[in-house]
Amino acid sequence: MKVVVCIKQVPDTKGGVKFNPDGTLDRGAMLAIMNPDDKAGLEAALRLKDQYGAEVTVVTMGLPKASDVLREALAMGADKAVLVTDRVLGGADTWATSTTLAGALRNLDYDLIITGRQAIDGDTAQVGPQIAEHLGIPVISYAQEIKVNGDKVTVKRQYDDRYHMVEVKMPCLITALSELNDPRYMTPGGIFDACKADITTWGRADLKEVDDGNLGLNGSPTKIAKASDKVRKGAGEKVVPDSPEDAVSYIVGKLKEKHVI
């Protein structure tokens, strides 16, 4: 069984976000991490490796520095890593990104492709389903549980108020939620091996059945009209009441004034 996991390197927003003086994000000042949903997807794949001996390949698209997350994935237990990087791929929106990744995935054998539901920098949740569309394989989004039986996969698919147990014949694509599992740590020995491992690097020429017009900034149908850091609503009143009674009468006064009570 062969499993391919698509992972993305993202800035860690957990410790707060840093901005350049011009208001754009200072990506360099933020730690770069493996996107949490992708890491859950990788963990799901590694469990399939533990259970069924699946071969796990990780793929990322990005700058050469994105090989860091590939090494992390190898140190966690992935078998092979592919970096898709090329200047012509820069500035891609989700359409161009999914087109690129599909072009790379056509070179690989797979029974299962796992992606994270969404990346914490873009939050779009589009790339997974779009890859499936380009490859013509079924997609099951928002997976909470993944089980393999023979040539079929059974997935607990989360909705707002319910879940479906769905089954489909492989190959298929699954998008993973970070709630799916607790990803394992790397091991020290895994790190040493990962740093020596070969990472396959593919550029534009290695993408299969892909039209230039669908790649990078020019191949992106969505265009950014304006980007800025968020203008927040300003602070209102802040009071330091002398007693809890004063605090309560202040709040009740405001609630009455606004006709809440």
Partner: protein, 354 residues
């Protein structure tokens, strides 16, 4: 990738995916219709709801009451439960047949699966999780010397990114339809017009199961008596400052007294004090109640991203430097353990007077 201006000109009308679950229209469909009406006005066009399901035709009148001029109904037994493939086939076929210039989909667990699949199939762009939609020009300002290249009547889609830290306005100028998924709870429904009727068009592109049809083995509805916090008018939200799961009792009592619901921050969910469905914020739910009490919540940016659109924000925190005070309309520096129970009493007394 780009369409020619002639091709683009063929696309007309604002379409809305009218999500239904168990043959009941989801709230998001009405919210989208409300927004679609606004967008249709400057474009001088009509609003069309696309209703997909099995035995759903009867819902067309509801959609008319909330602003649909037309309802395209795709009714087929294959469409009983939501599955990506037959639904994507249905919606993509409608788009190819009726050529809308705008296609709006709710950013729900269904729409965030259907939207990307359909956009890839009809080869257009999709902007996810929008919070603001407008009709305007692209580029926003004409490029000097290229004034005639500025496009008008474009859908401008605004969305937060980076965990709510940045905001971007996106256009899809050279492809149609312009597709967006829209966050639930953000757009306003119109006041329903009783007895309104829409033109109903039945359309069936034919459904032949293929490798992409998954089999639903089981449907398990979450047995939860917890009401969705996104529907609440008043939320009493607690953070780690509440101190313990037991101490949430004082928040629950306030919520009961004032007719609200309890929600919480991520720290509370991470500590195992409250379930995930009560979490407000970037990785939880986006809420915009009339009143949001932030009690013992420091106000991490990820939390603020999920509640800052609330009409009135009242924060109680003992740390006067807590960032929550930067977004609160009314901030009270003090001990929640002393203030909240008294507030509950006063609220009860005030409501009893009425």
């Amino acid at each position: 990738m780009n369409m020619t201006p002639e091709q683009i000109a063929q696309y007309k009308g604002v379409f809305v995916f009218a999500q239904q679950v168990d043959n009941e229209v989801s709230g998001i469909a009405y919210e989208l219709l409300g927004k679609a009406r606004e967008l249709a006005e400057p474009l001088k066009t009509e609003v069309t709801a696309v209703l997909i399901g099995s035995g759903v035709k009867g819902l067309a009148d509801n959609l008319a009451e909330y602003g649909a001029d037309k309802v395209i109904v795709v009714d087929d037994p294959e469409l009983k439960e939501y599955r990506t493939e037959p639904y994507a086939h249905a919606l993509a076929s409608v788009i190819n047949e009726y050529k809308p210039e705008i296609m709006l989909v709710g950013a729900t667990a269904i729409g965030r699966d259907l939207g990307p699949t359909v956009s890839a199939r009809v080869a257009t762009g999709l902007t996810a999780d929008c919070t603001v939609l407008d009709i305007g020009d692209f580029p926003l300002q004409p490029v000097p010397g290229k004034e005639d290249e500025q496009l008008h009547n474009q859908l401008l889609m605004t969305r937060p990114a980076f965990g709510g830290n940045t905001i971007a306005t996106i256009a899809c100028p050279y492809n149609r339809p312009q597709m967006a998924t829209v966050r639930p709870g953000v757009m306003q429904k119109i006041e329903p017009k009783k007895g309104a009727k829409a033109e109903v068009i039945e359309y069936n592109p034919g459904f032949t199961p293929n490798n992409r049809y998954v089999e639903i083995k089981e449907v398990v509805k979450a047995v939860s008596d917890v009401k969705d916090i996104m529907d609440a008018k008043i939320l009493v939200s607690g953070g780690r400052g509440v101190g313990s799961p037991e101490n949430f009792k004082i928040l629950e009592e306030l919520a009961d007294a004032i007719g609200g619901q309890v929600s919480c921050s991520r720290a509370v969910v991470d500590s195992g004090w409250k379930p995930k469905e009560l979490q407000v914020g970037q990785t939880g739910k986006t809420v915009r109640p009339n009143v949001y009490f932030a009690i013992g919540i420091s106000g991490a940016i990820q939390h603020v991203a999920g509640m800052e659109e609330s009409d009135i924000i009242i924060a109680i925190n003992k740390d006067e430097d807590a960032p929550i005070f930067d977004v609160a309309d009314y901030g009270i520096v003090g001990d929640l353990n002393k203030i909240v129970p008294k507030l509950t009493e006063e609220v009860k007394a005030a409501l009893a007077e009425k």
